[in-house]
């Protein structure tokens, strides 16, 4: 009988299903197929029943991957840290360095893969990406998700989608004059010269002008005398980017489009311009040229469609927030300009303030209006009427356009939110001196302020005053911190993930209230305490890291968590729109892809940690 072979070092090829499964699990998706094979071959499989508890030193450590079933991680005193199911991996030995009392309890019968500790450490040494994921397990995972940029964008659309498909053609023997007539009647600036289905040349307005009229050519001559012979063509599958590049490099304005060797259309420079109509820059400019509320409303009503396009073409959530805010700013500014045209020059300098998500530049669809007026101290009793009228014009206009009245009455139309600089300062003083629950609520809206229109220096002065008052006031900060801790992220929701296949009723999740606002609140309190003037959450986090008020790591973790949550929220709104629903901040976690749920869970974990940090820093001993 023959010698038995040396056991193969890689996974038996017939077990590709195991490799495929691992390839779908983060961070194994980072490994090359060959590495994946090798790692998969090192796995051992175990089965344990519900209630089984893993301790960090069981089996000498090792990385466990849930193949089926569900588990939860608990730290000291049974504090729940995480719940998860299929595809999630965890290394208790590593986690126990941060949380010494950590253990994992199975909450369903589970099949687990085990990568022995020694091999796990080896892979971490060999693969930077793999290691980075586990060095701080949760935060790193979110980071990867946030850094992942989907491929852009409008310019990657195909020429075939945009080309003019109705072709005007002439024969080479047709006269120059006949050609010009056909072009005039067809209202086109170019025509293709075809012999049968063969493209012979192209004639444009410019050819008629420079090669025929300017030369004094006999207009009864055949058009082939002035056509551009064998023009360059572009494939229907080329991108708009290719076409634009081609035109700018060669100086053409008309390019015939070939599909499977046949002329099927033409694409022109103006087609490419038209394609940019949904470009936010174009839109903002367009808003500035409208002359009535009705016209503005028409433009704003296109926004849901545009949002779908933008997100589909790969614009990231932070950019979406930025763009949507730029549009609501443009609408606000145009409404103010229209009001000023009617009311006449403002009696004294003033500044229109945007608060909340508009202030932070983080608006999405369905945002209500949060605004205020800040008026120079020189304002007189008689002038007040002018500002009140302005406030009503703009606020009503915004409401008509879809930015509905603020249910909490945070609007320039109220006396409280329309004050002189001195009045505002006194209000801020009152709020910070006696931080009632109501005051804290107002402050959290008000402190995210931005000048949308008018004299921005007024806004700066007010902000400086506010930071001076709030930053050193520990009682006020403690009251604000309590507000931060009020809304823990919806970690409890994972109970439902776990039992979903038992058919239990599933609720939806308010991502704005339960995930975005907690982060914004956390970052705001740090910004206030450290005198950071930025209001955008990402900007604030960057500034806090620069001031070393937050570690670079904590700052980036929160930025990434926010990015992941916002991305999910934006994609949720797009999904609502595509299925004919009103865009809301609610979504059903069970409808999310596995990976997104995993990322969200990680992001929530980061928020919990950050809330704990706020508690320690601003409410010690409470």
């Amino acid at each position: 009988m023959t010698e038995s072979p040396i056991p193969a070092p890689e996974l038996n090829p017939e077990l590709r299903s195991i490799r495929e499964f691992l390839g779908e699990c983060i961070p194994f998706d980072q490994l090359s197929p060959a590495e994946l094979d090798r790692v998969a071959a090192l796995m051992e499989i175990g089965y344990h029943r519900q209630g089984h508890v893993f301790q960090p030193h069981d089996d000498g450590g090792g990385l466990r991957i849930m193949r089926s079933g569900a588990a939860e991680l608990r730290a000291d005193n049974g504090r729940l840290m995480d719940r998860f199911g299929e595809g999630v991996s965890f290394n208790l030995l590593g986690l126990s360095q941060e949380e010494p009392d950590i253990s994992a309890t199975l909450i369903e019968d589970s099949l687990l893969y085990l990568l022995p500790e020694e091999e796990y450490q080896k892979i971490r040494q060999q693969h930077r990406d793999f290691d980075r994921f586990f060095r701080s397990q949760r935060s790193r995972r979110v980071r990867r998700a946030a850094r992942h940029e989907p491929s852009p964008n409008e310019m990657m659309r195909r020429v075939r989608d945009l080309m003019t498909k109705t072709l005007l053609t002439v024969s080479p023997e047709d006269s120059i004059q006949a050609t010009a007539r056909i072009m005039t009647e067809g209202r086109v600036s170019s025509v293709m010269v075809m012999a049968g289905d063969q493209l012979q040349g192209i004639v444009t307005d410019r050819d008629l002008r420079s090669r025929a009229v300017a030369e004094g050519l006999d207009l009864t001559l055949p058009v082939e005398q002035i056509m551009t012979r064998e023009p360059e063509v572009i494939e229907a599958d080329a991108t708009l980017f290719d076409a634009t590049l081609f035109m700018t490099q060669k100086g053409y304005h008309h390019i015939p489009v070939l599909d499977q060797g046949m002329v099927k259309g033409i694409i022109t420079a103006s087609d490419l311009m038209l394609a940019r109509q949904d470009d936010p820059v174009y839109l903002v400019q367009h808003i500035g040229r409208q002359n009535s509320v009705a016209e503005l409303k028409d433009i704003v009503s296109q926004m849901p469609n545009l949002l779908v396009q933008w997100v589909k073409s790969g614009i990231k959530s932070s950019q979406v927030g930025h763009v949507l805010t730029a549009i609501s700013d443009a609408v606000t500014v145009r409404l103010i300009e229209l009001a000023e045209d009617e009311l006449g020059e403002p009696p004294v300098p003033y500044c229109w303030l945007g608060f909340g998500s508009q202030g932070r530049g983080e608006q999405l669809l369905g945002a209500d209006q949060d605004n205020g007026l800040l008026i120079d101290d020189a304002v007189s009793e008689q002038d007040a009427k002018w500002f009140e009228t302005l406030a009503h014009r703009v606020s009503d206009g915004l409401n008509t356009c879809g930015y509905v009245y603020c249910p909490g009455k945070v609007m320039a139309t109220t006396d409280e939110w329309r004050q002189s600089l001195g009045g505002w300062k006194a209000t801020v003083d009152r709020w910070t001196r006696t931080p009632t629950a109501d005051a804290v609520m107002r402050v959290s809206i008000f402190f995210d302020l931005r000048a949308v229109y008018g004299d921005a220096s007024l806004c700066q002065k007010l902000q400086q005053h506010m930071l001076k008052q709030a930053g050193s006031n520990t009682i006020f900060l403690a009251a604000l911190a309590e507000n931060v801790l009020d809304t823990p992220p919806p970690l409890g929701i994972f109970r439902r993930f776990v039992v979903e296949h038992n058919g239990e009723h599933r609720d939806e999740l308010n991502l704005k209230k339960r995930a975005v606002i907690p982060i914004v609140d956390i970052v705001r309190i740090h910004a206030l305490a450290n005198g950071v003037t930025a209001v955008n959450t990402h900007d604030r986090l960057a500034a806090l890291a620069k001031l070393k008020a937050l570690s670079i790591n904590d700052s980036r973790n929160l930025q990434d968590a926010l990015e992941v949550i916002m991305q999910t929220r934006v994609e949720g709104q797009v999904q609502h729109l595509l299925t004919g629903r009103k865009p809301s901040n609610y979504l059903n976690p069970d409808e999310l892809p596995k990976l997104v749920r995993k990322q969200l869970r990680d992001a929530f974990g980061i928020v919990v940690d950050a809330q704990q940090a706020v508690k320690l820093r601003y409410r010690p001993g409470l």
Partner: protein, 233 residues
Amino acid sequence: MSWSFPCLRLQRQLYALRLRGQSADRQAAFTELQRCWQQMQFRTGDCWRDVEFLVVDTETSSLDAGDGELLSAGWVVVRGGRIILSTAEHWLVKPRNGVGHSATIHSLRDCELSEGIEEQELMSHFLTAASGRVLVFHHAPLDLAFLNRISRRLCGAPLLMPVVDTLQVERRSLARRHQPVVNNMLRLASCCARYNLPPARAHNALTDALATAELLLAQVSYKGKNVRLKALI
């Protein structure tokens, strides 16, 4: 050699006696089989974690060992209560006749199988893997019939090794819970689903061997803490 499994031991001795006067090839093969038997150091009273298992599945051209052939075999080791993936092996066997109609069942076509190994080579790989281990099958009689036929032809004796049949384990545990066995309840996929095991994505001898191994772990974990080998056999 272990004193457990007296019945198997007796049969082995009988076959050893019968070997006299057989061809030199067969005697050499029998010696190899004997070496495999001698490695079996476990007893039925051992804790299952201290016993190594070789979980095997085969694919055949017919359900009847009399007229069918073994087409492929896959196996994986369970050691210390865990499936060791690096031990997984999968072999195609060169058929002596064509695959015929069963190709529609197994999706193993003649051209693939012609790249397979000879039965002797398979037997050699198998005995190396089985050495010192308890065999595990789901529905053992079928796979064993084919393996024993090859063993008899090559070594002059059937395998005569202790066997766990996960199908019988499942049947007994259902019976103990007074659950009637209906339809396909004892099929491998149905058994796996009962224990919340992941469904197989593809079927071949090795993936089915792996599924059987997972089923074995699940069945044992439902029997309590210190399960002994005799509770399975």
